[in-house]
Symmetry: C2
């Protein structure tokens, strides 16, 4: 019988009516549903370039990313995108539409990326960033990107600018 | 000191570097991040109408819904939409694009709805459905819809057919 890490009373078992093993409490029958987590972020267009943040935290400290992060309970995807841009880049955004939805199954993430502009001028590194910068689209820090999905979002943003209709998904 | 329902060793507390209270284990410091859950579904166009399912399970047993359900770990949003349509309506879908992303903060859900057609003919009630049926767009079961977001998706599908560019979001 597989033990769960959650608590000694939890065991991996298939509850009635379920088609897969989940962590179920032997005491009260509580089923601990675990589902993918949502990351929300934005490609922020500024002066023909894109706002990027150099990560101050692990994983991938020192590498460049787009303002994005885990959605919290009790907020909308739009509010999460605005909050993350403020936390990471002290930027106030105006959202313009959904650029892409990426699935990253091996880490159980869904990433929802918006297109945005600055609702008011100015940006600066937040607590989780070492540096914030506008990169021209023809001079992106391609070799120093933090995650594959950052490259996907930048590529799909260029596809959008070239006239392709989004929202985009994972590369084939 | 607020107690957690998760286990006697968990307490609601603000961990170092965090800006909000989370359930943290006093024994090992494990932080139980709780994030919104993702529901994925589809508006399936069939013969000028839309495929709907009458719910066999609570909540809202007996009411009409679109094929949709909770995304599981290890799958993509596209795979989740296909799986749910098969589980609830025994239908094999071809996805055509993202219709809408709805946030339902008070129940901590994000709903991603695709547009789709049948990849092969045929549909039938799955274990969670009492009935599956094609409703013409001018004769939808408006008064017997299971959830507000079902009404939103049907309304936004009509907006899409009328030429509006999606993806759509919550009603204003």
């Amino acid at each position: 019988m597989k033990k769960s890490l959650l608590s000694p009373t939890f065991r991996l078992q298939t509850a009635p009516g379920e088609d897969r093993e989940r962590q179920v409490c032997d005491t009260c029958g509580f089923i601990n549903y675990v589902n993918p987590k949502i990351v929300v972020g934005a490609v922020v267009a500024v002066d023909g370039g894109v706002l990027m943040c150099r990560r101050a935290i692990e994983p991938r400290r020192g590498f460049w990313t787009l303002p994005a992060g885990f959605m919290e309970e009790g907020e909308t995807v739009e509010a999460a995108a605005l909050r993350e841009a403020y936390e990471e880049a002290q930027a106030r955004l105006a959202l313009q539409g959904v650029l892409a939805i990426y699935s990253v199954p091996h880490i159980s993430q869904v990433q929802i990326m918006f297109r945005a502009s600055l609702a008011e001028p100015g940006f600066a590194p937040g607590a989780e960033s070492l540096e914030t910068m506008i990169f021209p689209l023809n001079d992106l820090p391609e070799r120093d990107l933090a995650f594959p999905s950052v490259a996907w979002a930048l590529r799909d943003y260029r596809r959008f600018l070239a006239g392709e209709a989004g929202p985009f998904s994972n590369p084939a």
